[in-house]
Amino acid sequence: QDVPPYTEDCRSGTYPPSGPTYRGDVSWYTVNLDQPPSDRWRKIISDKKQPLTAMMQHIKDLTKYIFHTEKLIDLVDTKLPGLVGKLPPPFDEEIKGIADESGLPLGEVMLFNIFYEIFTV
């Protein structure tokens, strides 16, 4: 894996982060676990609604492009919501709260949360 300039010798002096490989600090939020699960993520989701919707839309566009059909998306939107209740608590209610706050279809929010298992395909 030595393919200069795509690989480089060990960097130094990169911390504190700055320069072209640093896009910014990650912002902090608090989730109150004493709240009902469906309310915990409301603040974060109301701040991140737009990028979350954009990311979901890209996944849908990609699915349509690869499989040349919207059937898979329909399946996600119609069938997955029936399975959310089978997820272990508190994740089922947290995912419902995220769908409610973001306005995204429940099936798509669930798909995002099980993407690791799906993606291993």
């Binding site: 894996q1 640093y22 896009r23 990650v26 676990l33 994740f91 949360n113 690791y116 291993t120």
Partner: protein
């Protein structure tokens, strides 16, 4: 992804990771970036999970994703997970789950439960190595005492290996990318050797948050899939997350 747990000469543990994701999910020719990686970056958040106004654990994650990929339970443990590929993969687990066979745990819900409920490194190690999963995974776990660092290689049903720090034998760090540590990585995706070369050059005497961040900033450990870098110190109760870019020329993975 690249995760590492390292112990410095004073016995302090450091845990850090690059979260790389979005391979083959759309390439933006104009900007020479992976579309999903770019769409994920605005979603990266650090979250302080509290109960009774006290911190239970902190994490770096994606808004909308309730599972955990990177987290720290202050004073107790640090945990990251890296993707593991196997023919007996998650899609089989998902099919079984949909068909009603529900023994397996969803990977990121397990990590979230460990961060929320485990009270020690040993308890976390037991949960992460023994819980039946829906998908294979690597769990990289750090504790709060000397020698408490390991990479747990998991198949869906069992624990294939636990690779631990062994300071007496000079093994002061364990580093995991996305390949079983006892096998060579894919030659076209060997981020392990460049990362280990930098760790070895740093030496245990000089390891710190800054020098670990240096290693994670070295191409191809830093690549086009890298969305964020998080560095954690359980003894200093520090979790820092940074959004990353990899300007050309840069490896696509």
């Amino acid at each position: 992804c690249t995760s590492v747990v390292a112990e410095d000469t004073s016995g302090k543990l450091l845990h850090a990771r690059n979260l790389d994701f979005g391979l083959f999910l759309g390439w933006d020719v104009k900007n020479s970036t992976w579309m999903i990686s770019e769409l994920l970056k605005p979603l990266v958040v650090n979250v302080n999970f509290q109960r009774n106004n006290k911190t239970v654990f902190v994490s770096t994650g994606f808004a909308g994703y309730v599972g955990m990929l990177t987290g720290m339970k202050p004073g107790i443990l640090t945990l990251t997970m890296n993707e593991r590929f196997s023919l007996d993969g998650g899609y089989i687990g998902v099919l079984e789950w949909i068909l009603g066979i529900r023994q397996g745990a969803w990977m990121s819900f397990l990590t979230r439960s460990v961060l929320e409920n485990a009270t020690s490194y040993e308890e976390a190690k037991t949960l992460l190595s023994k819980t039946v999963l829906l998908a294979p995974a690597y769990f990289i776990l750090g504790g709060n005492q000397s020698g408490e660092g390991c990479v747990i290689t998991r198949s869906r049903q069992s624990c294939l290996d636990i690779w631990e720090l062994d300071i007496q034998k000079g093994k002061w760090y364990v580093l995991e990318t996305n390949y079983d540590h006892w096998k060579p990585p894919l030659p076209i995706d060997n981020r392990r050797d460049p990362a280990m070369k930098c760790m070895n050059r740093t030496t245990q005497k000089n390891i710190s948050i800054a020098t670990i961040y240096d290693m994670l900033s070295t191409k191809p450990v830093l690549n086009k899939l890298t969305t964020y870098t998080t560095v954690m110190s359980v003894s200093e109760n520090k979790l820092e997350g940074y959004l990353r870019d990899c300007p050309d020329p840069c490896m696509p993975w």
